[in-house]
Amino acid sequence: MLSVEAVSKTFGGVQALREASLACAAGEILGLIGPNGAGKSTLVNAISGTLRPERGSITLDGRDLTGRGAEHCARAGVARTFQNIRLFKDLTVRQNVEVAYITCRATRAKQAAGIDIDALLAQYGLDDLADVPAGTLPYGSQRRLEIARALALGPSLLMLDEPAAGLNEGESEALAMAIEGIRRDVGCATIVIDHDLRFINRLCDRLCVMDQGEVIASGETLAVWRDPRVIEVYVGQAQPA
C-alpha cells in the first residue's frame, strides 16, 4: 500500500507539486493522468526517491520513504520505468535484468515467491535476445526489457511512466494484458502514467488526475470522468451560450 500525503516541490519558483496526495493499494492499477507539465513525472520521481520533496510524506507498506534517495526506495520495493527509456546499453539483455535481481537482498525472499531471471526473460519474449547488448534492441523490446528489469526487483510498487508511448494499437493492447498479468502474478501496487486515454480507461481501476502540480480528482475510473474539474481540464470550460 503506497500512501502519498500532501507532497510539495518547487523548481526555481515554479510549484511543480502542490500538496499532492494519492494512495494505491496492492493489486490495484492506478492511472495517473493530466496535461503536459501537470507534475505526473515529478510525483513519480518523488516517490521513487530521485527527488526530495520539500513537504509531505511518502510511505510504502508503513515504511517512511520520504526523501530517502533512489537506491533506498528501490531496495524498499519501489520499481519504475522511465519515460525516455534508460537501459544499460552495453550490457546484455540478461545482465540488465540481473543487475536489478542481484541488488536487493530482499529478492532472496522473493526468489521463493517465484521471480527468476530466465523466466522473466521468457515471459517478456526476450529469451532469444538474452546475450544481445540492450542498446541494439528494437524500440518495443527495449520497453519490455525495462518492465522485466523493474519486475526483477520483486517490487511492492511498480510505476510505469508512459509505457504505451510509441506503440501501435495491437502492441498497447498486449501491454495492457501484460500489466494485468503483473497484477495477477506479482500482486504489487501499479501506477501507470499515460496520455493514451483509451489505454488508461481500459486498464485502470482508479484514476488520479493532476493539473498544475495539484491532484484535482481521484476515484473510480468512470466516476472521475464525470468530475466537472476533470472535464474542464480535458475538454475545456462549457461556454455560456
Binding site: T103, A119, Q123, R149, G170, A178
Partner: protein, 362 residues
C-alpha cells in the same frame, strides 16, 4: 511487442534455479585464457631472449600490472583516472623505506624519522606493509573520489598524484628527494613478476564479472536507472578504486624489488600517459583490452626507440629523432580516440571472442 501477449497468457514466472553454469568458474577460466598470451610471451623471453630483452620485459610486465589495475577502476566505472601512479609510487617507496638494509640506509637516509634508518623488514612483510599504506591512502582519497563523477573525479585523482609526488620530492629525510633511492633488495625476477601479472589479470576479470563489477558497469552507463534498481554507485566506485590502487601498489613493489633503485619521476606523468595510452589503445572496457594495449604499445615503443637514435636504411642515414616516442604516445591516444574510441578489443574479452568465433565456424 510481438511477444507481449505471452506474458498475459502464461502464468507467473516460476522459479527454476538454473542460471548460467558456475559463473565464477567461467570468469576464472576466461581470466586464465586472457593471461595465456602474456604467459607465453614471458616464457619465450625467459627461454631465448638475451639479457637486454629480459630487462625490457620486466618493465613491460610492471606496466601490464599497472594498466590492469587502471582498467579495474576506469573500465568498470568509466571515469578517467590520472592519479594511479601515486599508488605505484607509494608501493615502491614503501618497500624501499622498509626493506632496504640499515647499512644502505645509513648512507642514503640517515635522518629518517621513527627510527626507520635502523630497521629492515623481510621483503614479504615490507610488501604487505606497503600494500597496507596504499590501502589507507586509497580509502581516504576514495572517500572523496567516489562521491564525484566524471571530470570532477578525474581532477581529484590528478591532485592526488601531485600531492604524493610532492611528498616524495620534499620529505627528503624519508624518501631522499629527487635523488635515486638505491639499495633495495633485488628479490624479484621475471618469473615472479609473470606470476603476479597472471594473478592480477584473473583478479581483474573476476571483479569485472562479479556482482560488484556488473553493478558498477551498469551505473556507469545510466546512473539514474542504476539507482532506480537499488545500485549504490558510490560504494562500488570506492571498492573499485581501492582494488585498482592495491594492484597499482603491487606493481610498484615488484618494480622496486627487481630494479633495486627508484626515483620519484618514475611515478609521474610519463608513466601516467604511457599506461593511459596502453589502456585506451587496447580498449578499457575489457581486461583483454588492457593486456592487448600493453603488448602492442610495448613492442611499438621499443621499435620507435630504435629509430629514435638514428638508423641507416639502405645506406641512407636517418637523423636522430629524439622525443619521437613521446610524440608517438600522443598520436596513439589521439588516433584511437578519433577512430576507435572503444580500443582494439571493444566490448568482448578474449575468451568471449574465441567462443563467438567457434560458434560461427560451426
Amino acid at each position: 511487442m510481438a511477444h507481449m501477449e505471452i506474458s498475459a497468457s502464461t502464468s507467473t514466472a516460476v522459479a527454476t534455479p538454473s542460471g548460467p553454469a558456475k559463473p565464477v568458474l567461467r570468469s576464472l577460466l576466461g581470466g586464465l585464457v586472457t593471461a595465456l598470451p602474456v604467459l607465453a610471451i614471458g616464457l619465450l623471453i625467459l627461454a631465448f631472449a638475451p639479457a637486454y630483452y629480459t630487462h625490457l620485459a620486466l618493465a613491460a610486465f610492471v606496466n601490464l600490472i599497472v594498466v590492469v589495475g587502471l582498467q579495474v577502476f576506469m573500465g568498470n566505472g568509466n571515469i578517467a583516472n590520472l592519479g594511479h601512479s601515486a599508488f605505484v609510487g607509494i608501493g615502491a617507496y614503501g618497500v624501499a623505506v622498509l626493506a632496504t638494509p640499515p647499512a644502505m640506509k645509513k648512507l642514503s637516509i640517515p635522518d629518517a624519522p621513527f627510527g626507520l634508518a635502523d630497521i629492515a623488514l623481510d621483503p614479504l612483510t615490507a610488501a604487505l606493509c606497503a600494500l597496507l599504506a596504499v590501502g589507507v591512502v586509497a580509502a581516504a582519497s576514495g572517500k572523496v573520489i567516489s562521491r564525484l563523477s566524471g571530470v570532477a573525479a578525474t581532477i581529484v585523482s590528478l591532485a592526488l598524484l601531485i600531492i604524493v609526488h610532492s611528498v616524495f620530492l620534499n620529505w627528503t629525510d624519508l624518501f631522499k628527494g629527487n635523488q635515486a633511492f638505491f639499495g633495495i633488495p633485488k628479490v624479484v625476477g621475471l618469473p615472479g613478476i609473470m606470476a603476479a601479472a597472471v594473478v592480477v589479470i584473473v583478479l581483474a576479470r573476476l571483479f569485472k564479472d562479479s556482482r560488484w563489477g556488473l553493478q558498477l558497469r551498469a551505473s556507469a552507463q545510466s546512473p539514474q536507472a542504476a539507482a532506480a534498481v537499488g545500485v549504490d554507485a558510490k560504494r562500488l566506485r570506492l571498492v573499485a578504486w581501492i582494488l585498482s590502487a592495491l594492484i597499482c601498489g603491487l606493481a610498484g613493489i615488484l618494480y622496486a624489488y627487481f630494479a633495486g633503485t627508484i626515483s620519484p619521476k618514475l611515478f609521474y606523468f610519463q608513466q601516467i600517459f604511457m599506461t593511459l595510452a596502453m589502456l585506451i589503445l587496447g580498449g578499457m572496457a575489457t581486461v583483454t583490452g588492457a593486456v592487448t594495449g600493453v603488448i602492442v604499445l610495448s613492442v611499438g615503443l621499443e621499435f620507435i626507440r630504435s629509430i629514435e637514435s638514428g638508423v641507416s636504411i639502405g645506406g641512407i642515414q636517418l637523423p636522430q629523432l629524439l622525443g619521437l616516442s613521446g610524440v608517438a604516445l600522443g598520436v596513439v591516444i589521439v588516433l584511437s580516440m578519433a577512430f576507435r574510441p572503444s580500443g582494439i578489443c571493444g566490448r568482448h574479452e578474449l575468451d568471449e571472442q574465441l567462443a563467438r568465433f567457434f560458434r560461427r565456424a560451426r
